[in-house]
């Protein structure tokens, strides 16, 4: 199975951006992952005291991504800590292999340090790297995968899984269950992530994780169809936009910028202009 690296982070003097991506990865995929990182960023304090790292499995039309979000070992030019999203991307051609070997990949993901392959200081000068191609030795995986299977053939239930070290072992065992098909997974999700992403399995990471309920959609089998079965990629990614309505201020009537901008609201019929025009019509 062929896989690629993905890495989104900041470097010494330059802001957060994609540092490493596979060739052929679409803009919409990158936007989606960036959105996930932003949601992690908004709630990253939840993960600070945790001994385990969150991971996410996201499937789009052409790619499957297995990623983690974490603090990097570096600080930026201003002495501030930096964070990153990193992991692997697998083309839809290897989607079935990806799903089969996901438990092994998760073990591998824990050991990844992206900065071993890419130099933090060197990357400051470069805009974007194309990921190297990696190949996973499946024969080795076959040996590894048996270690994840529960000895008594019973699999953990999602309700019993918490976002902690034991939970990370349990979710790997859960994913070894042949009853579960390819789907979007979040181990360490915030409430906003669950709202914005179509996760079939989501283990919430909240301050009160002991009381939280994890989320599992009924249809776990094949909740993300193979390539070709999805009519619209956005179906599994985004919510439909809603109308916006701006609070009115009494000053708005004199705001020259507002008159021209996109915030301009439909004016009431009885504006001075229409009144004046009606009057002109009345005269003539």
């Amino acid at each position: 199975m062929i896989y690629y690296d993905v890495l989104f982070s900041r470097t010494l003097s330059r802001d957060y951006r994609w540092l490493v991506i596979p060739d052929g990865c679409s803009d919409s995929d990158l936007e989606l992952l960036k959105k996930l990182f932003n949601l992690y960023d908004n709630s990253k304090k939840m993960f600070w005291n945790s001994l385990t790292l969150p991971f996410y499995c996201i499937n789009t039309l052409y790619w499957s991504y297995l990623i983690q979000c974490n603090k990097t070992p570096y600080t930026d030019q201003h002495g501030r800590p930096t964070f990153g999203l990193y992991g692997i991307a697998v083309s839809y051609r290897f989607r079935r292999h990806f799903w089969l070997y996901l438990p092994v990949l998760l073990r591998y993901l824990k050991t990844i340090n992206p900065w071993e392959c890419y130099d933090y200081y060197d990357m400051d000068d470069h805009s974007k790297f194309t990921s190297e191609i990696h190949e996973l030795d499946m024969k080795c995986c076959d040996n590894d995968i048996s270690t994840f299977l529960p000895s008594d053939s019973t699999f953990p239930t999602l309700e019993s899984i918490r976002f902690n070290v034991e939970g990370s072992e349990s979710i790997v065992k859960l994913l070894s269950n042949p009853e579960i098909g390819l789907c979007n997974i979040a181990f360490g999700a915030s409430v906003d992530m669950v709202k914005d992403f179509n996760f079939s399995i989501a283990v919430l990471a909240s301050d009160t994780s002991q009381n939280c309920t994890n989320i599992a959609i009924d249809r776990l089998k094949q909740s993300v169809p193979d390539h070709g079965e999805i009519e619209n990629e956005t179906d599994i990614q985004h919510k439909s936009p809603a109308k916006k309505h701006r609070k009115e201020s009494i000053l708005d009537r004199f705001d020259p910028v507002l008159q021209e901008s996109t915030y301009k609201k439909t004016k009431d019929q009885h504006t001075s202009q229409s009144l004046f025009m009606r009057a002109i019509k009345a005269i003539f």
Binding site: L12, Y16, R17, K35, Q77, K244, L251, F254, A282
Partner: protein, 368 residues
């Protein structure tokens, strides 16, 4: 009202917002009687009053985060810097005077990387358009620049690159070329003055302001020729003098890269931060006053014109043709004009007060 704040990553935008919150939203009572009231959610509301967050997402793809003043003020007051923002952030608040609302503000803090991306073709076309649309649709633009980086490098070009002035100058050259007739209120805010050597701060920051003028010269030259632009420059500190211990490390001698680490060692006493808000609000209200007076003049002209045509014959004609007669239309126009006059009277009293306070610290760019 909409303000766009731009500056490269690490120039102190978030720390500035925390300081602004501490000074004006802290409940301490500013001597000017102006205060800000952070809006829970933002200045946008759903028509059915639900799911405000979803609405925010739809204002723009780029506005992914709604700023919460409490989250950034609390760390600052515990001697810690607020978390850096990785996303473009919308700060929504109300400006009040003696607890009465003066204006709603949408203060957009652009992610620092946007400036680097803008001229390196790394932004998608849609993102560039949205960014420029935000600048165009703003009542004022706040340009943030790290004064340490402005003064650290002896070579002007190197200082321009490191403090982001090179890209900002270029951005406003493009803006001026595309919209030469558009009015622009801008303020160059020189941040982190707390870590400057005394020679830059003495004589009311004279040396710093002169240096900053050299660094932003292309922008200031445009401003000098375009009468529709109003600009100023202001040194600020989010934590105040003698409150920061700075460690500077030369990372790479060949490229002259420095890394800095700042530690807050005393309770923050922000310096000059409120003047930025007062400047933008004062000038925007002044702009609105002009706009409002023109509108009222138009009303008066229309009323006079209609009165000269109002007579018994017209009334009979209106009655026969079932149309509204001129007298009632004139009354409606008068009513609208009086409403506008009342609003104008209400806010114009703040203008001079705001600008008087602001201009105690702000230097007009053509006076430096």
């Amino acid at each position: 009202m909409k303000v766009t704040m731009i500056g490269v990553s690490g120039c102190g935008k978030t720390a500035y917002m925390a300081a602004l919150g501490q000074v004006l939203a802290g409940g301490g009572g500013h001597p000017s009687c102006f205060s800000i009231l952070p809006n829970q959610g933002c200045n946008y509301q759903n028509e059915n009053g639900t799911d405000i967050e979803e609405e925010i997402d739809n204002i723009s793809e780029m506005l992914l985060q709604v700023g919460d003043f409490e989250n950034i003020i609390a760390p600052l007051q515990s001697y810690q810097w607020p978390d850096p923002t990785t996303q473009t952030t919308l700060w929504a608040f109300e400006v009040q005077h003696n607890n009465a609302t003066v204006a709603y503000f949408d203060w957009i803090d652009y992610r620092g990387g946007v400036l680097n991306d803008l001229f390196q073709r790394k932004m998608r076309e849609q993102e560039i358009k949205e960014f420029l649309a935000h600048v165009i649709a703003s009542n004022a633009v706040i340009i943030m620049a790290d004064s340490f980086r402005i003064t650290h490098y002896s070579n002007i070009n190197e200082a321009q690159v490191n403090c982001g002035a090179r890209i900002i100058n270029k951005l406003f050259q493009v803006y001026n070329k595309a919209f030469p007739e558009r009015e622009l209120i801008y303020l160059i805010v020189l941040t982190k003055t707390d870590v400057l050597e005394e020679k830059w701060k003495s004589n009311s920051y004279k040396a710093l302001l002169e240096r900053a003028k050299q660094v932003f010269l292309p922008l200031i030259q445009i401003s000098a020729t375009n009468r529709k632009w109003v600009g100023g420059m202001l040194p600020v500190s989010a934590v105040g003098d003698n409150t920061v211990k700075r460690t500077v490390q030369q990372l790479d001698n060949h490229r002259n890269i420095i890394t800095t680490k700042d530690e807050i060692i005393a309770f923050p006493t922000p310096c000059n931060v409120e003047h930025v808000l007062f400047f933008t609000l004062g000038h925007t209200l002044r702009q609105m006053k002009t706009f409002g007076n023109e509108k009222i003049d138009r009303f008066n002209q229309e009323i006079n014109y209609l009165m000269s045509h109002s007579n018994y014959l017209q009334r009979i004609f209106a009655f026969l043709t079932n149309k509204q007669d001129l007298q009632s239309i004139i009354e409606e126009l008068r009513k609208e004009r009086d409403q506008d006059l009342a609003v104008l009277r209400q806010f114009e009293t703040h203008i001079e007060c705001l600008l008087d306070i602001a201009m105690q610290k702000i230097r007009k760019v053509d006076e430096i």
